[in-house]
Structure formats: structure tokens, C-alpha cells
Amino acid sequence: MNVFVKKLTQNGVVGLLLVVVSLGAYAWTFTSSLRSMELFVPRISLWLIIIGGVLILVRDVVKPEKAEQLSKAWVLPYAIGVSLAMWLYGWAFRNIGLVTSTVLFLTVWWVWVAVTDARRAGTTAGLGLRIAKLVALAVAIAVVIHLLFITLLNMHMPRTPLP
């Protein structure tokens, strides 16, 4: 068993995980209070996931050379970070206003990138001017977004003390 698992690439491991989780979900449907007809398509979907997972696993064992190369870059923290930032922005424009939150979001992001880039390059010459331009751009984008969504499309904005 150990040798078998060691032979698997990331493809096979993910396939195996999907099979296990879907089998668990499939077994769980038998404890559900839903009627069998209501569970028919959900069970098909789980079967498809199981079949897909098994095929990925089998291919990984039989033809490992054909397994797609998966990225090894550790992107999960970025995925979580971007998701959190987007949720935070969504919260912010409903509570402090669309223009205010847009300017803040873009300015904070761009200033951080500009400062990081300047540190990497080892020079801060012209950084102030660059930041000023970026803030002006953030204001311009915020105004365009306000005009588009609030003025033109009349989007409803609850609890918006600032514009």
C-alpha cells in the first residue's frame, strides 16, 4: 500500500481524495431525509465525481508519464489573501461608501506594490511622484465606477454615509 501511494503523483493523490470524499458523500445520502427521486441527480453527480477520480487515479498508475504537470508554486496564501481582500472591499463599499472604499482599496494596494518595487530596485527616487499619480488614478477610477454603477445603473447602496 505504501509503495502504491508513493508511486502516485499529485494527480493521483487528488483523484484518490476526490474518490474518498465523494464515496463518503454518497454513503451520507442514504442517511438523508430526502426522497430517492430527489436524490437521483445528486447521486449521479457523485458517481460522476467518483468515476472521474478513479479514472484519474488509474491513469496515474498505468500511464504516469502522461500525468499533467501541476504547478508547484505555493499560491494558496495568495488565493486566500485575494479572496479576503475582495470580501473586505465588498463589506467596505456597503458601509463606508463606494468611492471612499474604492479609493482606499486601490491606493493601499498600489502604494504597497510601488514601495515594494522601489525596495527591490534599491532606489526611492521618484517614488513620491509615482504614488501621487497612482492616488489620482485611484480617484479617477472610483469616480468612473460611481458614475457607472450608482448614477447610470442606479445600483442600490444601503448604509452609505459617504458617497
Binding site: V41, P42, S45, E68, V75, S83, G90, F93, V113, I145
Partner: protein, 500 residues
């Protein structure tokens, strides 16, 4: 059988040939070419971003905007493919070999113009086939009963899995996840709650627009922002020396050269239309198929090393899929590609129940789409020709500026759809699923198709079961369903045989 509805046609013409519609088509073309010309900003992403506007705009403006974005984006991908060998969209990848080679030989202007003209020819051909096929098929479609529709939806799902990937397991997995997401919410017959996990907002199902927006846009945003943070050179800029813009003095495409490639353009248009009408293949496969078939009969010895035939074959096929992809969608409610699925979502949000009766019940809407498809092509030609230098410079927008802006538009657009903060969370969840798809190299087509087709499939299946009182032979009772099951079995058989 073919009954031309003159009232609907006049109504559609009065909507399409109005200034407001023209403005939205133009806007769509400009947005489409612009985003198509920026590598990474593939045109399913801008269509997903403009989708919430369908909630605010009347149907002709919405469809004008979306069809313009679609057609412009399909052509726009070829600009960067020809100018510096980086396809803006996956469909333009087949154009790179000959297009970029021509640019390096100092014939970039000819290549760009051939790309534009063959795109317009392909687009027009696909649109005319759409017009001539949809109404006759649409009039037969309501005769399909629940058993035939179940077989048809099964065939569509099989085809999209068969065509979508080299790895069948990943295609099936993708369809399975799409099925699962689609059944969340109330049961269509009993009203029982399925997999809502006690969340009230989930009772109406996984929201369509947040799903599509997050699934297509967020993975690219994460990837680009990761690039900006980790790699200082990842600014989205292409150095001036790599950007070989055609010089003003450079000779353009002559009529003789354009008509000299008529075989490649014609073959690409026919192949693109055929493949575009099938659920699954999409623009990328159509362009590659046309490009490789073109190599068999062209007399140009430079094919693959800088041939106008190569550009014409790939680009005409690429754009011919635009019209053709509407054929299964407007006749049976089966989107032929991910982008068709986005357009179908827009129609659903406009209150048009896309399915077998759409041609009969919403004739004017169907005619409006026909006319918009035709009208978008000349706009594509004009804007494509005038603004090539502008579009090629767009690649210089720094990624650090572009992608956070897209992120905020994604959040606001999702919220604007129905003013529910919960939709933003669902958009993020869909984006993380999309990111997993991208990392694990799972094709997105089966998920989107399954998500949209599952409610139709389930309704037909359960209707058939009720009518037949549980007799499964009912599904193979009629000649139509027998043919459909045989075609399904054959397509799976040939697919498995080819793989082995």
C-alpha cells in the same frame, strides 16, 4: 415548416437598427478587442464582468454589448498573436505560427489585415448558417418529448466531456461537479431542500451570475496578483523591442492576396461553423483543426513559417464558431461553449427561458440575436482596422494597475446583480473552485454546461419517469431517442479508441 414571422422581424429590426443598440454593439466590440488583445484577459472574463449589466439594460442592448464583446474578443486575441507571438485568447493560439512569422518577415500589416478580414468572413458565414438553421430546427425542437430531450442532454454532456480534454477522468469530474452545484437548492418537483446546509440564501440554488463571474475571473486575478507580488518583472508590460508594430509605410494586404487565400478562409469558415455548433470543441479546437486541415491542401510552401493561408484558416474558423455556438443554445438550450453559456445566462436573466420552445415563444428575441450577430461583424471590421495600433499598445498596461481594478469591478458587478452581500461570498467560492480547476488542469466547459443543462435534464428525466411509470425502456422508445443514444455511444467509443 419554415414560417417567417414578419412582425417579429420588423420588431427586431427596429430594436437593432437604433442608435442606442449601435452604441452598445460598438462598446462591446471595443471592450472585446481591447480585452482580447491583453494576454490573460481572455474574452470569457470580460463577458463574465459585463454580465450583471443584463439586469439593468433591456435585452437588445444587453445582447448587443455581449455579442460585440464576444466577436471583438475572438478577433482581438489574434492581434497580439500576430504582433508579438502571444495569443490574447486560447482560440488565437493557432494563428501564432504563421502570423508572428509574417511579422518577423516585415509583413505584420498584411498578417493583421488578413486576420481581420478572414475573421469577419468567418463570423458572417457562421451568422448566416445560424440564421438559416435555427428557425427550422427550432420548429422541430418542441416535438422532442421528455425521453428525447433526456437523450439529447446526455449526448451534449458526453460530447463536451469527449472534446474538452486529453484526460477523460478530468472531463467527467468537471461535469460531476457542475451537476452537483446545479442541484443545490429546492427540488424542482417536490420543493425539498437539497444540500443547502441550512443557509437560507442557498434555497434558490447556487446563484448563476456570481458562479460564472467568480469561476472565470477570480482564478486569473489570483494568478496575476501572485505574479505581481512575487516577480518584479511581471508588470504586464512587453518591452518595446518585442512589440513589432507594423510601420505606416509597410504595404497592406492586396485584394489578390486576400482572394488568393479563399480556400483557406472558406474551409476555415465551414469547419469553424460545424465544430462551433457541437457542444464542446469551441474556438480553440476549431482553429487548430482548420489550421491542420489547411496544411493538407495549401500550395503555399511557407505554411507554418509565415503564410497568409495559415492566418486565414485559423482566424476564419475561430470567428465562425461565434454564430454557430448559438445553434444548440437557441434550439435546445444547450450552450456550445463556456462563452455561449455566459450568453445563455444573460438571456435567462432577461426572462427568456432558453430551451426547445424559444424560437416559437420568443421569436423576436431570436431575430434580434440574428441581426446583432450580423451587425457586429461590420463594426468589428471598422474598429479592428482603425484601432490596431491602439490595441497593441494596451499590452503595456501594468498588471499591478490592471488586475486590482478588475477585482473591484468583479466585486461591485456581483453585488449589483441582486444587491446581496451573500453573492460576493458565492462569487469568491466559485472563484476558488475555478482556481482549483486551473491548478488541476480540469476543463471548465463541462462544469458550465452541466450547471446549465442539469435543471433541464432533471426535469425531462423525471417527467419521462412519471409518464412511463418507471419503465426505463421509455427512454429508447422513439426513433429519435434511439438515434441519439447510438450517437452518444459511438462518440464515446471513438473517443476511447482514439485515446488507446
Amino acid at each position: 415548416m419554415f414560417e417567417f414571422n414578419i412582425e417579429a422581424a420588423i420588431g427586431a429590426a427596429s430594436l437593432v437598427f437604433a442608435l442606442d443598440t449601435a452604441i452598445f454593439v460598438m462598446l462591446g466590440i471595443v471592450v472585446g478587442i481591447t480585452t482580447g488583445a491583453i494576454p490573460g484577459l481572455a474574452h470569457s472574463l470580460p463577458i463574465a464582468l459585463v454580465l450583471p449589466f443584463s439586469f439593468f439594460l433591456p435585452i437588445h442592448q444587453t445582447m448587443g454589448l455581449l455579442i460585440g464583446t464576444y466577436q471583438g474578443g475572438t478577433y482581438g486575441g489574434s492581434i497580439t498573436a500576430i504582433a508579438f507571438g502571444t495569443p490574447g485568447t486560447p482560440g488565437a493560439a493557432a494563428t501564432v505560427a504563421d502570423g508572428y512569422a509574417l511579422t518577423q518577415q516585415g509583413k505584420g500589416k498584411k498578417a493583421l489585415q488578413m486576420g481581420l478580414y478572414s475573421s469577419v468572413v468567418g463570423g458572417l458565414f457562421g451568422s448566416f448558417v445560424l440564421i438559416f438553421l435555427v428557425v427550422p430546427i427550432g420548429r422541430i425542437a418542441p416535438r422532442f418529448g421528455p425521453a428525447e430531450l433526456t437523450a439529447l442532454y446526455f449526448l451534449a454532456l458526453s460530447l463536451v466531456v469527449v472534446f474538452s480534454t486529453e484526460n477523460p477522468g478530468k472531463g467527467i469530474l468537471s461535469a460531476g461537479i457542475g451537476f452537483f452545484l446545479a442541484i443545490i437548492g429546492r427540488d424542482i418537483i417536490t420543493g425539498g431542500l437539497r444540500f443547502t446546509f441550512g443557509i437560507r440564501y442557498m434555497q434558490s440554488g447556487f446563484p448563476l451570475v456570481p458562479l460564472l463571474m467568480g469561476f472565470f475571473a477570480l482564478p486569473e486575478i489570483i494568478k496575476q496578483i501572485h505574479g505581481v507580488i512575487t516577480d518584479p518583472t511581471h508588470a504586464g508590460e512587453i518591452a518595446d523591442e518585442d512589440l513589432k508594430l507594423p510601420k505606416k509605410a509597410e504595404q497592406g494586404l492586396t485584394l489578390k492576396e486576400f482572394f488568393g487565400s479563399w480556400k483557406a478562409t472558406g474551409m476555415g469558415s465551414v469547419l469553424g461553423t460545424f465544430l462551433g455548433a457541437l457542444p464542446g470543441p469551441g474556438a480553440t479546437l476549431a482553429a487548430y483543426t482548420s489550421y491542420s486541415v489547411g496544411s493538407q491542401f495549401t500550395k503555399d510552401k511557407n505554411y507554418g513559417k509565415g503564410s497568409l493561408d495559415g492566418v486565414a484558416a485559423a482566424e476564419s474558423a475561430n470567428n465562425a464558431t461565434c454564430g454557430a455556438t448559438f445553434i444548440p443554445m437557441l434550439t435546445f438550450g444547450i450552450p456550445g461553449s463556456s462563452i455561449a453559456a455566459l450568453l445563455m445566462a444573460a438571456l435567462i436573466m432577461e426572462g427568456v427561458p432558453v430551451g426547445p420552445r424559444v424560437v416559437i415563444d420568443h421569436t423576436q428575441v431570436v431575430y434580434t440575436i440574428f441581426l446583432l450577430m450580423l451587425v457586429a461583424n461590420p463594426f468589428n471590421l471598422v474598429f479592428g482596422k482603425l484601432l490596431i495600433p491602439v490595441f497593441t499598445r494596451l499590452t503595456k498596461i501594468p498588471a499591478a494597475v490592471l488586475w486590482p481594478t478588475i477585482a473591484i469591478v468583479l466585486v461591485i458587478g456581483t453585488y449589483a446583480y441582486s444587491n446581496r452581500p451573500f453573492d460576493i461570498i458565492m462569487c469568491i467560492v466559485a472563484g476558488l473552485i475555478g482556481y482549483f480547476y486551473r491548478w488541476f488542469k480540469i476543463p471548465d466547459g463541462p462544469l458550465v454546461l452541466a450547471f446549465l443543462v442539469t435543471p433541464l435534464f432533471e426535469a425531462s428525466f423525471r417527467q419521462a419517469i412519471t409518464i412511463s411509470r418507471g419503465d426505463m425502456l421509455f427512454f429508447v422508445g422513439s426513433p429519435i431517442s434511439q438515434i441519439l443514444w447510438v450517437v452518444t455511444a459511438l462518440s464515446i467509443f471513438f473517443f476511447l479508441r482514439k485515446k488507446n
